[in-house]
């Protein structure tokens, strides 16, 4: 994102905002501060840059504010779920401190989507304090979901092409990712893949007519039962390794290994009625046993509880991909599958449940 100067971050460029519904509420109603003060320092005493969702927004947007408390964007429960699973109860106090320094600054709030850029990226009003019912894709969604989702979706990982939904469909994020999903109104989740796929490829009005018998050779019943859509229709994506966090003179920082472009099909670690497929694409996440070593020894004492190659829904969907070029691409080779040889020594145990040892059998045409 282009940088924004300090003055511009707080500049109400369009003063018609003052007469808008939100503007008429008055600055101090939401942001606090000192009424009637005439110098800058006194006026800003008690200012709340980021008003509380329930207190400031809740009186009018009651249902949304109430549901938002359960939104993963607001509470980052996914971090606690996964890091908690890899650790133990006695380590969580230290890990929560570490997450507070390094991970939890990424949470969002009402204002960080609808009024300003995310605080974690410096903040700043993006439209003169106008409230955007539909946030800016580039200044809001991909500001945070940049290096993986944005780069995949827009074709920045050359020569991998952009997602067909973007390059041909011109679909911004919120075409698929609904208000309810963003606001936590679909129910509380322990991580982003908790519950049925949302969005789902075959949701009403999307690819709801796609399935066995639709005239596409590879759309067989066996394929639909065995694989998520992305196994055939996504392609090479970014994988991250070994993020280590630390502090120096009070400044929090991280160091991470260079990302690796790869595409790996593995066994579904989240197989359920809602996600019944045997095979799904897997993405490597940047955790290793020493990720939090700065804060203490063996904090991820249960590291192997989750795979480091995790269920993925890459945002680079194509109609035709290398794995759809021939049956042998999958049925005659392990090229596209995650195998034991792909694992680093520290993650062998963690990924035993997702690696593939031999290509799926072919049962002749129609499989």
């Amino acid at each position: 994102m282009p940088p924004v100067e300090a003055w511009e971050k707080v500049f109400i460029s369009d003063d018609t905002f003052v007469d808008s519904v939100h503007g008429k509420m008055g600055c101090i109603t939401c942001h606090g501060g000192t009424s009637g003060a005439t110098d800058m320092q006194a006026a800003h005493e008690g200012v709340v840059v980021e008003p509380d969702a329930v207190a400031a927004c809740g009186p009018c947007h009651t249902e949304i504010a109430a549901a938002d408390a359960g939104s993963l964007h607001s509470n980052l429960t996914g971090y606690f779920t996964t890091i908690g699973a890899r650790s133990s109860e006695e380590n969580m106090g230290v890990l929560e401190e570490a997450m507070g320094n390094h991970c939890l600054t990424c949470h969002t709030s009402c204002g960080q989507c609808h009024v300003s850029r995310p605080t974690n990226l410096g903040g700043g009003l993006f439209a003169g304090h106008e409230f955007k019912g539909t946030p800016s894709m580039n200044l809001t969604c991909t500001a945070c979901h940049g290096s993986r989702v944005n780069d995949e979706y827009k074709g920045m990982n050359r020569p991998v092409p952009a997602d067909v939904h973007w390059i041909q469909g011109g679909m911004p994020c919120f075409t698929c990712h609904t208000n309810d999903e963003m606001h936590g109104a679909l129910g509380e989740q322990v991580d982003r893949y908790d519950g049925p796929p949302s969005p789902g490829c075959q949701d009403e009005g999307c690819h709801d007519q796609v399935g066995p018998g639709d005239g596409i050779d590879n759309h067989t019943e066996a394929h639909f039962e065995a694989m998520s859509c992305q196994v055939c229709h996504s392609t090479t994506y970014k994988n991250c390794y070994s993020c280590h966090v630390a502090q120096q003179e009070g400044i929090s920082f991280f160091k991470i290994e260079p990302s690796v472009m790869d595409f790996k099909i593995g066994l579904n670690p989240l197989q359920s009625d809602a996600r019944p497929w045997k095979y799904v694409p897997l993405r490597h996440v940047p955790v290793d046993p020493e990720s939090f070593a700065y804060y203490g020894e063996d904090l991820l004492s249960n590291f192997a509880a989750l795979p480091t190659w995790k269920y993925a829904t890459p945002h680079n969907i194509q109609r035709n991909t290398p794995q759809t070029e021939s049956c042998d691409a999958c049925h005659g080779s392990l090229e596209f599958f995650l195998t034991a040889e792909d694992l680093l020594p520290y993650e062998v145990e963690a990924n035993q449940g997702v690696i593939v040892s031999e290509p799926p059998p072919s049962f002749g045409s129609g499989n």
């Binding site: 300090a6 003055w7 008055g26 600055c27 800058m40 290096s147 993020c243 991470i256």
Partner: protein, 127 residues
């Protein structure tokens, strides 16, 4: 009539008047609570001589009629047309004008806004 006779008649008359007045001594004292709305009727007997009160009155006698509570005012009072200015602690009024004045002025903000001191990033790699 001789002077002696005349003196005797006057004395008898005076005695008679004194006796007559003594007979009137049990009449009720003037009360202080009864407010006459009409002028009191005059005594049936001659009132040329007012009896001495047995105790000094604490209030004006009833024949000096006091105004009653039921007296209608002659004019309807007019409420004051101006609210008096508060003299002590005024009601707090939220005044956003200073916020708006500054935050809608590019020139003011460019003068006053201070760039945050960004600590040199020690992070390495994609976030």
């Amino acid at each position: 009539m001789s002077n002696t006779t005349r003196l005797a008649l006057v004395s008898l008359l005076l005695i008679a008047v004194v006796l007559g007045l003594a007979a009137c001594g049990n009449e009720p004292e003037p009360t202080t609570v009864a407010q006459a709305t009409t002028a009191p009727a005059g005594p049936a007997e001659a009132d040329t001589a007012q009896p001495e009160p047995t105790e000094p009155p604490t209030q004006a006698p009833t024949d000096t009629v006091a105004p009653t509570d039921t007296t209608e005012p002659t004019e309807t009072p007019v409420p004051p047309t101006e609210t008096p200015e508060p003299t002590n602690t005024p009601e707090p009024v939220v005044d956003d004008s200073a916020c708006i004045t500054c935050h809608t002025s590019q020139e003011t903000l460019q003068t006053l806004a201070v760039e945050e001191e960004v600590a040199e990033s020690l992070s390495e790699g994609e976030g």
